[in-house]
Symmetry: C3
Subunit: 362 residues, 3 copies
Amino acid sequence: QTNVQIGGRVQADIKSYKVGDVTTAGRVAKNELRVDDDETSRFWLSGTEDLGGGLKALFYVENRFNTDVGTGQNAGGNGLANGNTYLGLSGNFGQVTVGKHTFMEDQGNAVQYGIKGGQAIPSGFLGSKNILNFVDTTNGARASGMSTGRVNNSIQYVSPNFSGFKATVGFSTNPDGNEGTQAGAAPFNNGDYSKGQQYFLAGNYSNGPIFLNLAYYDQQLEGKPAVGDEKQVRLSGSYAFPFGLKVGAQFDRATIEAGAVDRERNAWQIPVSYQFGANTILASFTKAGDIKGQINSGAKMWTLGYDYALSKRTNVGVFYGKLDNDSNATYQPVDSGDTRNGSVLLGGESASIFAVAVKHTF
Amino acid sequence: QTNVQIGGRVQADIKSYKVGDVTTAGRVAKNELRVDDDETSRFWLSGTEDLGGGLKALFYVENRFNTDVGTGQNAGGNGLANGNTYLGLSGNFGQVTVGKHTFMEDQGNAVQYGIKGGQAIPSGFLGSKNILNFVDTTNGARASGMSTGRVNNSIQYVSPNFSGFKATVGFSTNPDGNEGTQAGAAPFNNGDYSKGQQYFLAGNYSNGPIFLNLAYYDQQLEGKPAVGDEKQVRLSGSYAFPFGLKVGAQFDRATIEAGAVDRERNAWQIPVSYQFGANTILASFTKAGDIKGQINSGAKMWTLGYDYALSKRTNVGVFYGKLDNDSNATYQPVDSGDTRNGSVLLGGESASIFAVAVKHTF
Amino acid sequence: QTNVQIGGRVQADIKSYKVGDVTTAGRVAKNELRVDDDETSRFWLSGTEDLGGGLKALFYVENRFNTDVGTGQNAGGNGLANGNTYLGLSGNFGQVTVGKHTFMEDQGNAVQYGIKGGQAIPSGFLGSKNILNFVDTTNGARASGMSTGRVNNSIQYVSPNFSGFKATVGFSTNPDGNEGTQAGAAPFNNGDYSKGQQYFLAGNYSNGPIFLNLAYYDQQLEGKPAVGDEKQVRLSGSYAFPFGLKVGAQFDRATIEAGAVDRERNAWQIPVSYQFGANTILASFTKAGDIKGQINSGAKMWTLGYDYALSKRTNVGVFYGKLDNDSNATYQPVDSGDTRNGSVLLGGESASIFAVAVKHTF
């Protein structure tokens, strides 16, 4: 028991989801009242062991679950060790770990939080889970996210901190975790296994009021199918004024290999927060541009929230957000709406979300 | 680690299951010798945080498993956070939590335990898992339970204790946890999402030797199918004499919407226990009445047990029970018998169970 | 929290898998670069309670996961309580537990480790997961292991230690955990449930430099199908010289009921290790003989490794192994190769594995 630490985070919210701007004749869009867990709750086991000479062994195992439904009822990423999970060594040279790591997804999320962090922002309001990280599909299917969740079968190196600067390099032999089970496409049957892989690079500068982050990944699918390979670059920054105001900006360019013409789009976000005492007001505006060569295929999203810190470990908040599709776009807020009941968005429709949330860290 | 507590409960039993009163020509009913986990073992993580002014933040995460088989081999409710799991606030006003809660199922189980509680009673001998909580189906299929297990997507309010009296109110936006994935039946396509929901109300009075509990729920399925909505009310009480005898009674009325005529039945139970030192003798008789309009569709069950408390945390016991179906009833003990091997009961058949059990709380 | 202990083990390796000795015309075997968890990482909850008079209650719950992929992506044995999980009593009479136990699989693995144990040997290099425990199938399908993993629904008795000697007896009412769900084959429809079961017996002598272990099991499948019943006996021993050298030997005979002629083969292994300071050199040679009546159906495997103990709890190592099939054999290293991508071995082919591994115990 002296060798392991236990920590975690639990979240829940009560949420109203409403569809708007319906223009399709005969369409009856459905609204929903929901109880959700919008951060994927989790508990982790972790530990470090001093090996002498500045060298340390370390491990981290993150177990994910939802407060609102059972594990079996929400397979998406929940389960034992389905969060970041790795072991490795750290020392003067930095830190090397092997296992599962979140590479691209969360990069830049920090700029959306208030100065002291910890606000109960629903995950769908963060860039990692909204249109900043999504690329809409062309024919009305749901928008597909870029690299989301943990990158399986991966190795990560994090450099030491040089005057506020830190670099992260990652490599995965198979991001999807289906290593050795995908049939390779014919042209790649060359004696080497058809290599799915992901490269990841990030540079971060955090110093006093300044935060800057640049991240990039390049992913090839296991079995080398004709379409689906991804590339993404994201630049994020924020400046924190001494009186509690924090202003940020994020720019994201994502490309999905899609045959003759790749699906490529730019997106950007301006997040602003103001913290006074235990109160934080949070706002953001995000714009996903048209997919290259497809007119009116973009979307915009704005969010507004008020968070109150009951303590350093417990936050409550109310949040409102609206996602507005251009006429040919079908972006969808995460964790709401489903094609089976008619609550998923059609081209040009919008959705608004009102949530009361509570979050506790242990 | 100072912010989280770990506790749990493990159980196992060796069990003989025998089918009796076979009258169907050519029927060869099968008996079974089993090793089972009849309480669904579990460990929980929990914590409270003092927020000042009498206010507290709290969370509880219950992880369920079976001691006898692997998680994947017994999907029924096992898994990370598949037990009660919630977070919320408590104070002078009472306690409000959001997540998954057990509303109806366990109501009144307390009257079956001996005075000091903790006996190793197999769950199939408790009202929550036997004919007190089941409504037989009409045509030989297995009996279907009423609201069993955790109610997903739910909010619960528990009042402060007023001189022994306490009230609980619960509401779920979707008890089955399939929020937003069920197609709504046509008449409900009215612009609001077809609302599955559950209301729950309970009042409890515990004072010295007296225990009284009244509980009610009303559930509508997501997507509003034509049949399947449920209502149930249960009144439970017990009186504990100073010399170790405890006598109780439970009455249950359950209704399942089933088209032209609802399936409705009354059931009642008389549990008696006698505790002397570390020994407890436990007995109960339960009777499920005919389903309204269906003759000989009831059943009766009696149980007898002896439990020895090796400590406050460890109990061992031997238990015998017999379930007797009326000629048109097919009630079935939980955790035994399966249609695939011929050990499930046909109309009018009985089953007896003999179990040696051990239970440990940590 | 005072009643429960938490411990665990995490492992990861970077692994190159190469297919050799390809003779089939047109065959293009694939090689793989992988990140794997080759020990199935785990954390356990355990506790003991002193009941007085030398009697103790005890429990153990082992939760398994992989560091490299999510739980859902690797169903094989991972999950909550999917490792050894049991509760019971211990005293002067020995220890009796009920739940899930690993009976045969790990028997004798101890002889492959260096004198002080704890080396980061990938599981595929151990007898429990390689050709010492496998019986090849007859027609090119993958080799099937003998009893691997935990034996469900089981009871175990372990004797006290008599001058270094200890006996273990196990019984399972259903090793596969599908109790009551398999249809019984016709001749067994005799009123008793068609009894799948397993008997297990082991005797161990550990005293100073000497280790001797003899283990046997006999398993009948639930539902009594015509083929598939298993028997296995394994004798293992090692001698540890005072200067760090340890020499062992294992002999295994396995039989799988397969209709007219059972599949039966002998296998043996010679493991050698040499430990000096924190360094351990490990080598082994294993030979699986022909399956009775099938010529050239055997295989051999040799392994070589170097392990460095960074501490008592953290080991790193490099390991090389080669599995060589006879012309009619299709044994396959575990955790590598898959029929879907052409990396699984055909008759007469070989495979080599090079792995860099790290292991940490907490």
